[in-house]
Amino acid sequence: MEIPYTVTARKDTGLFNSKVGIWLFLASEVMLFGGLFSGYVFLRIYSDYPWPERALPIVPGLINTFVLIGSSVTVVFAWASLKMRQWRRFQIFMGITIACAGMFMVLKGIEYKAKWGHQAVRMDDFTIVEGHTHYGAIMSNGEVQHFQKKDKAKEAAKKDAEAYNKEAEARAKAAAQTKGEDFAGLPDDQKWQAGDYFKANTLLFQPDTVEFSLARAHRNWVNDLVAQAEKRQSSFVTGKDIFIYGDIEDYSGSAEKPKSNDERGREEAKLIKEYAAAEKMPRKLGSNSLFIPAGTPLSYSLLKEAREVYLAGRSHNSETRTAILRDNWKRVKEERPDDKYWEQAPDAQIDSASQLDEQLDEAGKVTSGSKVISIVSTLSFRMDPPQPLVIKRGWVKRPVKESDGKAELKDDTALNAGTNGRAEVAPGLLESPLALSVDAVDFRWMAQKAEEASKKPLDVIEGSWIFSDENKHAGTYRRLWKLHKKRIAHLEERLKDKYGTDEEGNPKRVPTETERYRMGWQDLVQYARVENDGQRAVPGDAAFDDLRPKFYHGFAGPNHKDEEIHKLHAFPELEIPHEKVSLESMFTPKWNTYYAIYFTLTGLHGLHVIGGAIVLAYYLFCSKGLYRRNPEWLANRVEVGGLFWHFVDLVWIFLFPILYLM
């Protein structure tokens, strides 16, 4: 059947089908992006923290704007070529459009990667520090070394592992020789595994025991801990025999043959002895109970098995309690049928806890099916021998202090330090400073808090940790801040001279909060250049201003690998003690609502670019047949695809100034 109005217009609307369809769709897209843009506006106006102004490097966004505008032009030309029946020309222009889409996504990918790799830290006094995190490696002797580059950390860990293995092999060989045996090489499980580096925004914890919640233990974290222990030739094993009851029949027998408490206890002891003497494997008992002998290694499948048993026991308990409650209410309603329920309640004994002990019938015999069983909800494992574990801050429930002796993960796993005899080998939280190369120090939030508390911002800033003697790099930061204050003071003067004051004597223009309180990477580079120059340039000289990087430097952000920056040590180091870190994150939605809305807007827009490119690619590669049969229909379809493409361009025309320039 021929679809009507794909080429000829309808008489009432004067339009062919796909045009109405695409405009309907675009109207819905206007609502979608309009809603998100308004989200941006409200998040910015009502943000309770200083909104990052001009935080994004402009150049990639600018190139992307040119790319998309160009692709809009070429898609129109592609449609025009089809209308004029010039197939080759259509192919060329469509190809350029799709290539532009590809370039857009590549640049977007570069921008995103730069953000995901950029560290931000908020300290407990609201200082914000940004930069690139260092990497650490744990050596075979437990020592932790820090490195600026990931490769160096990897290399150091590898070298250390090689040295350890060489030594271990030599020792094993010597031992084999004294015994007169052949030495076949060091077995794999005795080799130290290399490549064990971590990002210095994590915690190091050396536990004695680890307790897993059976209901909530998270598979990825359990496997990660097991793998870490394995790498350091350690393991998690159960410290004692554990018996988990899952089913009431095992526990108190059936209705015909109930068991008393004593009987249960005797049976349990017998079972434990029997299984402890036999194999060292976890063993299902009866229909649903589980026996785990001491020395069983940790694995997620073990936890899963134990979880099934635990949940069976827990649901049995809740059913039992419900049954008791129900029986009580039934009895009370029969005894006092005319009373309201709140009058009946005192007699109903709704506190079932009092009835959960041994149930006896009139003859004094134990009844079964009316008991709750004691259930095991956690499994405890010893780390043997205790080794440092790398724990991500995001896993931990609340800030861990050394004195806690315990770290609780968000899946209720508890890592415990050793006590008394074991405290030395298993001290718990190890020194875990957040080490990074800093490319921005932002005091704006601290200044905002100071003003709210009616204090002078500068006083509060200068009393902050980063300038105090507790920070071993404080000298560098004090010098930078001094130069920064000079520059801003001079800027203030210059603005006052140029624009004058109003009637009350206040200058008409003042430096922005961002300029006053934030030292961005351009500032740090400028000040490093000034210092390198022997402080010959001072604020006020043209030479001083010339030393500042222009907005087009640093393509997708401050480049820590840049030779000049590296030579000048423009980005200083910082080691923030663990307790002073309030929030650490990459430049991702976790960090603040600015990045949340940025990734939402640009991510959704990027998906639209990909979708549009796929449709246009379909027209480019798969439409020769349609062109031969019905070229006008194809032209209409390409026009409609082009309309979508223009819309995507329109959204970017608004996104670019809003996100990048404001």
Binding site: A27, F42, I69, V76, L650, F654, P657
Partner: protein
């Protein structure tokens, strides 16, 4: 078919010109935002800079819409659909704004402090 092949042939020069104008306006947007002597209003980013930026963006959007998307000679149905979409979008904005001016939640001179108070200290 609103556009005949002849019309389209003549329009190509126009498309190229509009493309060039869009490029120029992009440069203007960046210049207004980065060049110090083009900074209107307060020093740094303030309301007037937002207005100028959005104005230039609107001009660009109008050019793309009118000429590339053929809206300058489109049928009434389409105009109706667009207006409907924009109106609905505005409703979304108004609804959100309405929530934010709620005095019970956010406070007002008459109602006093709202019960929404941003946290004093934030800890992870």
């Amino acid at each position: 078919m609103a556009d005949t092949p002849e019309d389209i042939k003549n329009a190509q020069k126009k498309y190229l010109l509009i493309g060039l104008i869009l490029f120029i306006f992009t440069v203007v947007t960046v210049a207004v935002a980065t060049v110090p002597w083009l900074d209107f209003g307060e020093h740094g980013f303030d309301g007037i800079d937002a207005v100028i930026g959005l104005l230039i963006a609107s001009v660009k959007a109008t050019l793309v819409g009118a000429i590339f998307m053929h809206l300058n000679h489109e049928k009434r149905t389409i105009y109706g659909l667009i207006v409907l979409g924009v109106l609905m979008g505005l409703c979304l904005v108004v609804l959100t704004g309405w929530a934010f001016i709620d005095p019970i939640e956010y406070g007002s001179p008459v109602e006093g402090d709202g019960f929404y108070n941003p946290p004093e200290t934030v800890n992870q």
